[in-house]
């Protein structure tokens, strides 16, 4: 199997049909006064309809930038450059025109953001914002759109939807607000839904409800979902596949069960170590791996994780000079340690402490 094969992630290998969403070698750079921010470098992944891909990683690892790139939302930033390929339902989006991407945005692909309060316009009612979202993609009267919006509010579990239709975002509780955002994102039956830390701003009980809601709606609509989070508990519960990001790169990728039960990358070990037990529901924020995340302007040489990696010296100076590539088949990892060594370290040093 070739090293950059993605199809194996959710489908059998081979020259089969393209996955519903396939991202290849995605690279996003921002020109800033301080230098070039290498926000995402050579990231590749795929999601099928009805499946969920979890993206985990510390804050600043490039998760949001990745999802905004899929939606083409860096196009309005004059300082951003996006390279690579993004295939959605056999259409390439990086080279598509602004207008083509705009028409997909909110229609075939939609997004739920982290902080629903700031993500809603303060001067328009929740209903008006949902109606607007529906009418961009459907030629219907305001009345019809209103019926649809109220129906969506009811579907996401908001009581008294007719009344709440006329209220403003700030009049909703955090959980209800996120439900309304979900209603807005789903109003056009998107085939790809990206949820960027949808529960981070919410308290624990509400988090569970929102995640259940997203799962139920996904089953109902059969959408592909990308669930971005730094909460591994969420990924364990929802995701079919997992992408672990560090310093703007994918450092481990594979089916959720594999990544959780046979994690390969030292950074993933660290992440898992911050979960007391794999089989216990954990919704607290990750206690970060020792050390701080790298600067994306001056990435460390070699493996970006080496300043924090306890095993960095085990390969001569390869970890300090050579950037490891993401290798492997269905379950891929970017680390210079030979597979056998990793296996041994994991079994002897890491697993007993998890």
């Amino acid at each position: 199997m070739s090293t950059d094969s993605l199809a194996g992630l959710t489908m059998p290998a081979g020259p089969a049909k393209r996955p519903f969403l396939e991202v290849k070698d995605l690279t996003v750079r921002f020109n800033t006064d301080d230098g070039v921010v290498k926000a995402v470098s050579g990231s590749s992944f795929a999601v099928e309809r009805g499946k969920t891909l979890g993206i985990v990683g510390e804050s600043g690892s490039g998760k949001s930038v990745t999802s905004l790139a899929v939606l083409g939302l860096h196009r309005t930033r004059s300082n951003a450059t996006v390279a690579g390929e993004i295939w959605l339902d056999d259409k390439e989006l990086v080279t598509a025109s602004d207008e083509e991407v705009r028409k997909l945005r909110g229609g075939k692909m939609a997004m739920i953001f982290q902080d629903p309060l700031s993500a809603m316009h303060p001067y328009y009612t929740v209903g008006a914002q949902i109606v607007e979202a529906y009418r961009v993609h459907h030629k219907v009267s305001k009345k019809e759109a209103r019926v649809r919006a109220i129906d969506m509010l009811a579907r996401v579990g908001i009581p008294q939807p007719e009344k709440r239709f006329n209220e403003y975002g700030h009049q909703f509780s955090g959980g209800m607000r996120q439900r309304a955002m979900i209603a807005m994102a789903l109003v056009n039956d998107p085939k790809l839904l990206i949820a960027d830390e949808p529960t981070t701003a919410l308290d624990v009980t509400v988090q569970a409800q929102i995640l259940d809601l997203i799962r139920d709606l996904q089953e109902e609509f059969g959408s592909a979902v990308i669930m971005i989070t730094h909460d591994l508990g969420v990924v364990a519960e929802l995701a079919d596949d997992v992408l672990v990001m560090y310093g703007g790169k994918v450092i481990e990728r594979g089916p959720a069960a594999d990544v959780f039960h046979e994690p390969q990358h030292p950074y993933t070990w660290g992440l898992l170590g911050s979960m007391p037990r794999l089989d216990r529901e954990l919704r607290e924020r990750l206690t970060p791996v020792k050390g701080s995340p790298p600067s994306l302007i001056n990435l460390p040489s070699g493996c970006a994780f080496h300043p924090r990696c306890p095993y960095a010296g085990r390969n001569g100076d390869r970890s300090f000079t050579e950037s490891p590539e993401l290798r492997g088949g269905v379950h891929a990892v970017a680390c210079h340690l030979p597979a056998e060594d990793r296996q041994k370290i994991y079994e002897q040093e890491v697993a007993p402490n998890l």
């Binding site: 905004l68 939606l71 939302l73 309005t76 705009r102 028409k103 997909l104 945005r105 909110g106 229609g107 939609a110 997004m111 953001f113 902080d115 700031s118 993500a119 809603m120 316009h121 303060p122 001067y123 328009y124 009612t125 914002q129 607007e132 979202a133 961009v136 993609h137 403003y168 700030h170 009049q171 807005m184």
Partner: protein, 333 residues
Amino acid sequence: MLSYLIRRIVNAVITLLVVTMVTFGIFFAVPTITGSDPALLYIGKTADPASLEGIRTKLGLDDPIPVQYGKFLKGLVAGRDYANGADVTHCDAPCLGYSFKTEQEVTPLLISDIPVTLSLAIGAAILWVLFGVATGVLSALKRGTFLDRAAMTGALAGVSLPIYFTGQLALLIFIHELGWLPDAAYTPFLEDPAGWFTGLILPWVTLAFLFAATYARLTRANMLETLGEDYIRTARSKGLPERTVIGKHGLRAVLTPLVTVFGLDFGTLLAGAILTEQVFNLRGLGYQALTAIRQNDLPVILGVTLIAAIFIVVINLIVDLLYSVIDPRVRLG
């Protein structure tokens, strides 16, 4: 909402009452206390003691100050009679007394001036809001380009050049040199709308330039900030065309705080109007005020001050109410 409305209106009325007290205090009581005699101002230095005494009685200048203030208020609300024995003069409400100089009633004098100043102020306000906001939005969208820098340099000039200078310059170029426009003059709108327009266009532009500059800078800054907001990203993620994102979601957020600023600027606008009327020789309230100040014509000064105060208080009331309509967080909070 209703109680908010009532509270605001009561506030406005109280403010106006305080304004009458302060202006009355300054313009009537102070000369009395300092011993300069308003009756003398009224009738002229050559008057004999008897007629001076008559005037004093008639104007009520011998009454204690609170009584005078009471009569003044009553005159405003219900009109009043100035009486000296059988010699009675009635002054209709709202009575602002008689000009020391022309001996005419102040109220009709000022009322005839209001359309001039109002035309000037409203026309200038429309111009400056349109041009200021448009320039600001364009500048923000074309940030860092030549257009942006040119607009902001122009705005800097607008903020820093005094009306006397820009006004005289405009007068010189467009009226005297090029002859494109007739002399600035006020023609009532109903009489001759075209004349009203051409007569006021230069004063409008002069007055608007000053404010448009401020608004352009403000709009630009607000727009740049707004474009970084999460809800703009949400608007884009819905697939809205860029012109809707900017023209609807962006502008709505940019204009809302501008409404408050606009209310505050109306006070400054009056000051600007005085200067503009002077430069262009327009017979409005500002012109009247300057003349009255030069001639020490206290009742006229008091009248203009009061009208200006009413103007400002009413505009602020409207702005407050408007703001509570356009910002739901104020309305419901």
